[in-house]
């Protein structure tokens, strides 16, 4: 597993207070991990902070799963 994936999962576990085994790549923040709209805003901010990148609102709207987040961040870093 990539370094980015590990760090994304760690943030999700911490912010949503969910069990590690639920935080799989296809997990949807709202449908699978019990997040609400404010949680997802906070998650995106936490990703920005952790990876030192900016995630514009229109990109953030498309980040609804762990995999979406990892892909976006890796695309920025590449």
């Amino acid at each position: 597993m990539s370094d980015v994936a590990d760090r994304v999962k760690k943030i999700v576990i911490e912010h949503l207070g969910v069990d590690e085994d639920k935080v799989v790549e296809n997990a949807n923040f709202i449908e699978d991990l019990g997040a609400d709209s404010l949680d997802t805003v906070e998650l995106v901010m936490a990703f920005e902070e952790e990876f030192g990148c900016e995630i514009p609102d229109d990109a953030a709207e498309n980040i609804s799963t762990i995999k979406n987040a990892i892909d976006f961040i890796e695309s920025q870093q590449g």
Binding site: H15, L16, G17, L38, V41, E42, M45
Partner: protein, 420 residues
């Protein structure tokens, strides 16, 4: 008018968590006032407060995990967490479960705060000031809003009746209970969860009250001696954090489900000083009319009151003005009552004060013991009625009056009667 009784109580203060912990502390003449150690007080003239002690549940201390998940805690300033904790205790104590639509619709929440999420607000202001507005948490607003205690309590318990919050500085808790009782009297609900919550002991809160010259600054090395209502050496109030919440219920509703009844709320009075933003009117007229209005609503005479839980904040001006108003209203009977200030033990809980003091008043009625005024070693001139100095006192208490007076000149008095 429908009659309203108290069927549940919950509390968080510097003495700890729970009704029993708090009452045991008062009965042992303990003080919850300590040095502030969780932030730097070097530049602050007042360095003490009644902060909620964090620690193991079994020791009566506050363990946030008992009340909220770590995830939810980030969405709440401490005043909300304390309010939720007190409300959960009260609801559990009452045994009331709104498990049907009709029950949920007829159960409301009215929990206020004097100041709200000051700590959260000051932190957010720093973030924005540092040019990091986009980093402000999406939970900033809901974590700070005063009515979010009522919001969270309703969400957690499914209470879908009136959802309201009072903000009247240090009269908040009393106004909340009085207004909630009226909501039941007017048949807009059968059950109301009511009270106040506060967590203003943060750098901005302490600095603000220091700037207003309201706080005690002469007892920083002996914190437990700082809150000393009516004592000659008093020099200001001591801030306290915490929350008090009661479950109010329409009498027949409570009887029908066999709820235990702690007492009946029979009187509620309000008045305004129209005098000064922070100082009470010197003739005590606001407090006088407020107590008078509560007695009128109760259909009682001053002679019917056994115990007064005073506002008694330990400020040089306020304590004697209140005592003067009590003496004028009660006449000779002032020398038959007991009057004490529990702020001597837990400090001034601002928007929660009226609620925790209503609970202490009800407990005095239920136990036949009135709580003491700690540190009242040398009463000021004219403080010659029974102010229950230093230690609790046994006496029959059938009817109690609890006073709360707030900045802006807002006053509230509650009268409770033993249920027979």
């Amino acid at each position: 008018m429908r009659r309203v009784v108290v069927t549940g109580m919950g509390m968080v203060s510097s003495l700890g968590v729970g009704i029993k912990t708090n009452w045991d502390g008062l009965m042992a003449s303990q003080s919850g006032i300590r040095k502030i150690e969780n932030f730097d007080v070097t530049d602050l003239p007042a360095k003490i407060g009644g902060q909620v002690p964090e620690g193991p549940t079994e020791e009566g201390k506050f363990n946030a995990d008992d009340w909220v998940t770590p995830k939810d805690r980030r969405r709440m300033d401490d005043f909300i967490v304390y309010g939720l904790a007190a409300a959960e205790q009260a609801v559990q104590d009452s045994g009331w479960v709104a498990d049907e639509d009709e029950k949920a619709w007829r159960t409301g929440v009215l929990i206020g705060s004097g100041i709200g999420g000051l700590s959260e607000i000051s932190g957010g202001a720093i973030t924005v000031n540092e040019g990091r507005a986009r980093r402000l948490s999406p939970f900033f607003i809901p974590a700070s809003l005063i009515n979010l205690v009522s919001g969270h309590v309703s969400i957690r318990n499914g209470f879908k009746g009136p959802n309201h919050a009072v903000v009247t500085a240090c009269s908040t808790g009393a106004h909340a209970i009085g207004d909630a009782a009226r909501i039941i009297m007017w048949d807009d609900a059968d059950v109301m969860v009511a009270g106040g919550a506060e967590a203003a002991i943060c750098p901005l809160g302490v600095a603000g009250f220091c700037a207003a010259r309201a706080l005690s600054t002469g007892f920083n090395d002996t914190p437990e001696r700082a809150s000393r209502p009516w004592d000659k050496d008093r020099d200001g109030f001591v801030m306290g954090d915490g929350a008090g919440v009661v479950v109010l219920e329409e009498l027949e509703h409570a009887k029908k489900r066999g709820a235990k009844i702690y007492g009946e709320i029979v009187g509620y009075g309000m008045s305004g000083d129209a005098h000064h933003i922070t100082a009470p009117a010197e003739d005590g007229n606001g407090g006088y009319r407020c107590m008078q209005a509560a007695l009128k609503r109760a259909g009682m005479n001053p002679e019917d009151i056994d115990y007064v839980n005073a506002h008694g904040t330990s400020t040089p001006l306020g304590d004697e003005i209140e005592l003067g108003a009590v003496k004028r209203l009660f006449g000779d009977h002032a020398y038959n009552i007991s009057m004490s200030s529990t702020k001597s033990a837990i400090g001034h809980l601002l928007g929660a004060a009226g609620a925790v003091e209503a609970i202490f008043s009800i407990l005095a009625m239920n136990t036949g013991v009135v709580p003491p005024t700690l540190n009242l070693e040398n009463p000021s001139d004219g403080c010659d009625i029974d102010l229950v100095p230093m230690t609790p006192k046994e006496r029959k208490v059938r009817t109690v009056l609890s006073n709360s007076f707030g900045f802006g000149g807002t006053n509230a008095s509650l009268v409770f009667k033993a249920f027979e």
